[in-house]
């Protein structure tokens, strides 16, 4: 898990907007060379700067990961020796949707028609 840098570069108190720049250890340029994105603090249930940073951290993490990936796309690897390779592995457990319980259904889902 790499670190990300978050830098507030402008605020607008009237619209409660904060302009933020971000980068990671894998970013190709310095944080100041990237465009900023705007966040409106009123969209988040936060009381101070720390809570605001924590609130936008998931979004920034996604942005920076996608930008880093676009800047440094994965290089093709050498697969020339793969043909004929055979291996036995444990199957991955796939998540299954939880069954809908009877008490989670609305009356209309349980019984759409009411007989008069």
């Amino acid at each position: 898990m790499s670190n990300i840098k978050i830098k507030i570069v402008e605020i607008d108190q009237d619209s409660h907007t904060v302009l933020v720049k971000y980068s990671s250890d894998n970013s190709k340029k310095s944080i100041d060379d990237y465009p900023a994105v705007a966040f409106q603090t009123t969209n988040y249930n936060v009381k101070n700067l720390d809570e605001f940073i924590e609130a936008i951290r998931p979004q920034i993490s996604l942005y920076v990961e996608q930008r880093d990936l676009a800047e440094s796309p994965p290089q093709p690897i050498d697969i020339s020796g793969w043909n004929g390779h055979e291996v036995e592995v444990t199957a991955t457990e796939l998540s299954r949707p939880e069954p809908v319980l009877d008490n989670q259904l609305t009356p209309a889902q349980k019984s759409p028609e009411v007989i008069l």
Partner: protein, 169 residues
């Protein structure tokens, strides 16, 4: 768009959907069970345009649909209907006749109201769009329906803010 429920009454299908704010959807309005003959907006507002092609050129004119109104959209049959919302979403109910050329007479009643409903030669289906409502001493919750068969009647009791569609045919 979220489809909350689609129910086949053996005469028509009614479905209830929610289209969120700033959302655009495209629907081909045709096919048995899929053709929306009428649409009722319970809440919010939406605007729509009708095109022959799924591809838009940006010059389409959008017409508003307001809440609390039942719209006959039979003129959109066999065409693409694009609905889009602005700052508010919309809760809509659609009525799809089976077969698609079947004539349906639809009235939407808003509570508070009490009334005797008499089915003459055609059955009347009461669809509770927003409930609960009481019909013939039975409670219908939201999106449940009840059929009043020909030559039968039923007493309808709608509480305040409840909505009931009476569909004849």
């Amino acid at each position: 768009m979220i489809i909350n429920q689609a129910t086949n009454t053996n005469s028509f299908i009614y479905c209830n959907v929610y289209q969120g704010a700033h959302e655009t959807t495209t629907y081909f309005n045709g096919g048995a069970g899929h053709y929306h003959r009428s649409i009722y907006l319970s809440e919010g507002s939406v605007e729509y345009t009708v095109t022959e092609s799924e591809t838009l050129d940006g010059n389409e004119i959008y017409l508003p649909l307001e809440s609390g109104t039942l719209y006959d959209i039979s003129h959109t049959k066999g065409k693409y209907v694009i609905t889009r919302t602005n700052n508010v979403g919309s809760v809509m109910s659609m009525f799809n006749p089976i077969p698609e050329d079947k004539e349906l007479d639809i009235k939407v009643l808003r509570g508070p109201l009490t009334r005797d409903v008499v089915a003459e030669d055609k059955r009347i289906t009461a669809v509770c769009l927003s409930g609960p409502i009481i019909i013939k001493d039975k409670t219908l919750h939201s999106l449940q329906y009840a059929v009043i068969f020909p030559n039968k009647s039923a007493h309808l009791n709608l509480s305040e803010h409840s909505l009931c569609a009476l569909v004849t045919g």
